[in-house]
């Protein structure tokens, strides 16, 4: 039988070393060019999520090139595009106004959001049933978690016990919860 064996151990170790090196380079570059310590917490969180998303898109792109059968046909590229665009869209409000006006930056976010929405719809249409199930379960788990958190926060705010989280901070929390939810749901199906 032509068995689909996992990669040989040396190759797996080399892959992990490569990923670790890529992580170190990414962290080093971010630390070199960004004064994360001087950022407000909501900006720091969104920057962290943005870097994670872009890094994941790059790694997924490499994996897709090496092992194309890991995703349903046509889905891998769309997943990479959706992740990369999500990361870039989180970075635009942080840095784009250094070079362009707020209005132009917002227009850029809108344009990228439209492209990402199309990519996500195409991904849904091309996905096989397990990938769709993973997407649905991720959405459900993330919604349930965020609903609980938002209710607690809202109740605390009404009681004058909490406050100060901006919409920008909330989207950072939402993205973080979504990423964790997607990792948990995918791991349950044996996808690492």
């Amino acid at each position: 039988m032509t068995e689909d064996r996992p990669l040989p151990l040396p190759l797996r170790i080399a892959g992990m070393a490569l990923l670790a090196a890529a992580g170190a380079v990414t962290g080093g570059l971010v630390a070199r060019f960004v004064d994360a310590g001087g950022l407000p917490p909501d900006d720091a969180l969104n920057l962290f999520i943005a870097v994670v998303l872009v890094a994941m898109a790059v790694v997924s792109g490499v994996v897709l090139t090496l092992r194309p059968s890991r995703s349903p046909k046509g889905c891998g590229v769309l997943q990479v595009v959706a992740m990369a665009l999500a990361g870039i869209m989180l970075m635009i409000p942080l840095y784009a106004t250094r070079w362009v006006s707020s209005e132009l930056a917002f227009a850029l976010v809108l344009a990228l959001l439209a492209v990402q929405t199309v990519a996500n719809l195409m991904l849904w249409r091309r996905a096989d049933e397990m990938l769709r199930r993973i997407m649905v379960e991720t959405g459900g788990l993330a919604f349930w978690t965020l609903q609980l958190a938002l209710f607690l926060y809202a109740a605390g705010e009404r009681l004058g016990l909490t406050g100060g989280v901006t919409a920008w901070g909330m989207i950072g929390v939402l993205m973080a919860v979504y990423l964790v939810a997607s990792a948990v749901v995918a791991a349950r199906r044996g996808i690492k």
Binding site: M1, T2, D4, S69, M130, R189
Partner: protein, 63 residues
Amino acid sequence: MNNRLKVLRAERDWSQAELADRLGVSRQTVNALETGRYDPSLPLAFKIARVFGQPIEAIFTED
């Protein structure tokens, strides 16, 4: 739910990727089916039965 996918695939000397192609799903989905991490929908179960030329109940059994 238990299934005999891995055995049936082995009997035909198919790789997971080959079976995935025949079923129109990803190799990851075949792997998840074989390891019991994912139960297929009814349409996919019928397709699996067709591909292996066996009735569904000969491939899938309850726990």
